[in-house]
Symmetry: C2
Subunit: 316 residues, 2 copies
């Protein structure tokens, strides 16, 4: 059994096309019914405002599977520590022996989450998308743009965040990171979204931020912030006005994502899943002016895919 630390993993796994292909292949296998993916194990540590989630999946026939353990302790920043953390364990799917512990401290989760956003945009957004709006100014606000640029020629980013100082700092960071990118900080959500081809919500909000009135014709929306029973980013109107609504997994969207707005009642629109969309090889978008929405909650197959990809590179 080998133990790898974050710094080693960062060295070999980046937001590139190879990593995107690996995560996309995981979703495709899920869509083809070739994946065993049990429900998330989740435990609250209330006295510390913490929780820990365990996700896993096995792609049938693959040599390895991974189990990810990700604690989120939301008072950590006041202690000078990051909220998110954790590790992935890679097992042989032949013997169950532990092949490696990837002590990535959440790095691979950041990467596979950003890549899922890019994959959603690849299959749902207009091919000529140039302008992306980001809601939020944290780690994913940056990584989602970096990943999106793998699949769409983004030249302009509009950002809105509750904290304008953080939005300005974010704008500076990504201007520096991506030469030639135009970055506009907005004072309100409506103006940030007005010209968007793609909107990505990346906040830990507990109440909806984005509503149908913010959406220009032809936009694609990826909501990746909500991943627990308390969080929501989209008003119901965003989902009801969409021509296409896709969830990474429907069951998780109903418990942890945006579909929980319906609280178990039938929603008045069709829900597709990202895996079958990819497996079908056909985008559900059938018109330039259609509005597409994708809700990402994070799935075990992404973790298994990125961990296997990482280990292959680490041992290469």
């Amino acid at each position: 059994m080998e133990l790898y630390h974050r710094i080693q993993i960062q060295d070999v796994v980046r937001l590139d096309h190879a990593a995107l292909d690996a995560v996309e292949a995981g979703f495709r296998a899920l869509g083809q019914g070739r994946v065993v993916q049990p429900p998330i194990l989740s435990m609250a540590i209330e006295e510390s405002n913490g929780e820990v989630d365990v996700k896993t999946a096995h792609i049938r026939g693959h040599d390895r599977f991974a189990i990810k353990v990700s604690p989120g302790f939301f008072d950590n920043p006041s202690l000078g520590l990051p909220s998110l953390n954790g590790l992935m364990i890679v097992f042989s799917a032949k013997t169950g022996l532990v092949e490696a512990v990837l002590f990535d401290e959440g790095y691979l989760t950041d990467i596979r989450t950003a890549l899922a956003g890019a994959i959603a945009a690849k299959h749902l957004s207009r091919h000529d998308s140039r302008r992306a709006t980001v809601i939020g100014a944290g780690v994913q606000a940056e990584l989602q743009i970096a990943a999106l640029k793998l699949v769409r020629d983004i030249d302009t980013v509009d950002v809105w965040a509750r904290d304008t100082d953080r939005a300005n700092a974010y704008a500076e960071r990504i201007r520096e990171r991506f030469e030639g990118l135009t970055v506009n900080v907005h004072g309100d959500m409506a103006s940030a979204c007005r010209e968007a081809d793609v909107i990505i919500t990346t906040t830990p909000s507990k109440s909806p931020l984005l509503d149908a009135g913010h959406l220009p014709a032809g936009v694609h929306v990826t909501a990746m912030g909500s991943d627990s029973p308390e969080k929501r980013e989209l008003e119901v109107s965003v989902m009801t006005c969409a021509d296409v609504f896709v969830a990474d997994t429907r069951a998780q969207s109903e418990s942890n994502g945006e579909l929980k707005a319906w609280a178990g009642k039938t929603m008045p629109f069709e829900v597709q899943e990202l895996g079958p969309v990819i497996a079908s090889g056909q985008s559900p978008r059938t018109g330039h002016d259609q509005i597409t929405v994708c809700d990402l909650t994070g799935t075990g197959v992404q973790d298994t895919a990125i961990a296997s990809f990482a280990l292959k590179r680490l041992v290469a």
Copy 2:
């Protein structure tokens, strides 16, 4: 973060009273309602006759919690590998940071499982129990006796196993391990159980082995083999004839343990749980001739308790 290997862990964690106290304290906390213990995450890897289980629990107010990942790949012996395996990860309950990975390869599971048997016998068997019957001849057949000797003055062990050669080898092993112990190998279950004060079933059987006709008056039975939807060791008659029936956790016994015999229907007897029995400070056994039965399926709180105990010793 520290990584500890099996050999280091074996060096400091043994079947002794301190380890027993640690696991018993975990059960007591569970009985007092001080434990968060989510359902087991379980995933099958069918093409390799394998499965992986993830268990966890948090004792409120404690500094640490553990997550255990235990793969079971049942074709491994034909490859010269053990079926059971895995590791435990210990987290700070204040920050969620990983404190240690205990790469115990299933050793701590063996220990805490044996200790749970001893704890059940401590609270349910007659104080004057001297004679123990073991069904099965594997690792737990040995460890259960070693643990039981911490709480009862066992002088005689009767053993029955399907494979008589294995039963004989087992008898030799424990005669060597415990000086002065009388060990009898039996050709059938009935003769093995006839004089028992305590019976422990330790098999991976998929159909019931022990029935009410095997039980002498006053006996205590611990069934620790069944821990998955396919396994069963006790005939229904063992449970219906018992004066006291205790499960480590009722929900797990209904899904993975002996209570699944009722397949969701109401069982015609009272089901107690081990945690509350311990917390109450009073044995539910109220007579010398009563029959008590305890079904153990393995709980997350045992894992958190033994992992915290191990880490305390490792860093001491």
